[in-house]
Symmetry: C2
Subunit: 229 residues, 2 copies
Amino acid sequence: MNTRLADHVREALEQMIVTGDFADGERLDEIRLAERFNVSRTPLREAFQALAASGLVQLLPRRGAFVRHPAFHEIIEMFEVMAELEAVCGRLAARRVTPQTLQQIKATVIACECAAHAGDSDGYYRENEHFHQLVYIASGNDFLANEAQRLHKRLQPFRRMQLRVRGRMIQSLSEHRLILTALETGDSTAAETVLREHVAVQGSKFNDLMASYKQSNLRAHSQLISMRE
Amino acid sequence: MNTRLADHVREALEQMIVTGDFADGERLDEIRLAERFNVSRTPLREAFQALAASGLVQLLPRRGAFVRHPAFHEIIEMFEVMAELEAVCGRLAARRVTPQTLQQIKATVIACECAAHAGDSDGYYRENEHFHQLVYIASGNDFLANEAQRLHKRLQPFRRMQLRVRGRMIQSLSEHRLILTALETGDSTAAETVLREHVAVQGSKFNDLMASYKQSNLRAHSQLISMRE
DNA sequence: GTCAAACGTTTTGTATACAAAAAACCATTG
DNA sequence: CAATGGTTTTTTGTATACAAAACGTTTGAC
């Protein structure tokens, strides 16, 4: 646990932004937020900088901090990069994965299947996260693993929506199996292709994401209205 | 031009770290640096945060800021990711590049060749940067272009070393030609493969990089010694 | 001699004060 | 009524003051 106020504020603001408490382009008032969190402007401004580094707010010099909700096409672009990063991880992992990591991946695939059969949505979500993290590590490139993890985290709110789509979980499961097999047999091309498709947002998934994004936009919008009252 | 002190300090520190003015793991003294730059601790701490975000320093809570020179294997890893990112840019660009961008790329290839024949090393470096930037943009994915540019910038000091290697420029030129042709003919596989190889650090290049890295380490080390006197 | 506890020093994190830039407001003019 | 210029208010960026945590040192016990 961290005792720095700035980190607490950053986490709180991150949560608020992601859950749509602020409208797109809204200015974050230093003074009002400071007294709301019962801190001074100093840790608040630190939090702003951290949020700017991860792309959640835009910091304009001598203007202030503005929340920046990604436009729909930007999310599509981020998912495309995520798909390519995971594809690279898969290709490298097929050649480099250690027996231990492979064993761990196998365990998470099984845990995913168990959670799915038990109807444990949260459990599935958790194990799925673990599965992908292990694939990143299996690439044998720690820098790549970190970058992938970073983007994965940034896409988390949108992925959560996507997983709610009917039937997504079953398809996801079979893809996990295919990936596992590819890694076991050292088939780098298969690992690359399946992982890219596994993550990619296209075809029917595209429309699903579109729908859930519109909903999240509505939430942000209604929030904006309530703030103006 | 930016009027914020914090940004000036960040740039200055960035330069100093990259050029090896600090040893690896050295603590950056807030007070001493503040009076050296004639600023208070506030903008200095802002600069620390920005540098931490780009990986040049490590920020330990209630400990301080420590410069973090990447270990050799970390640089290799970053180059591997860079190669894969450029490969992705190339693959996508072969399908999506606009006639205007293609024209611009052709222009930079020619400019590179001119600079090379004129023995203009700095000019070649500049046009080469431009060439890669255009390939990123040609991918049609702005987020990808930004990420690629970010990593490219981070690897800049090490790339500069690499280009000094004898014969590298001529090989680089012919690779540019191959990439241009692949983009013109829409050959995504060729664009991907050539760009990956173009960036990758392996074989003889590996040893070249190794040698120049050792030199840069020596510089950092001698600096450390001079500071202790 | 080693370990540990208490003290003083240094350094970080946060609050607050202040200067300067931006925004808002308002009056005046065409 | 629109536009412009000056004045006031707000807000950002920076300096400084202060509290608390980390660090080093000395002292004391075993």
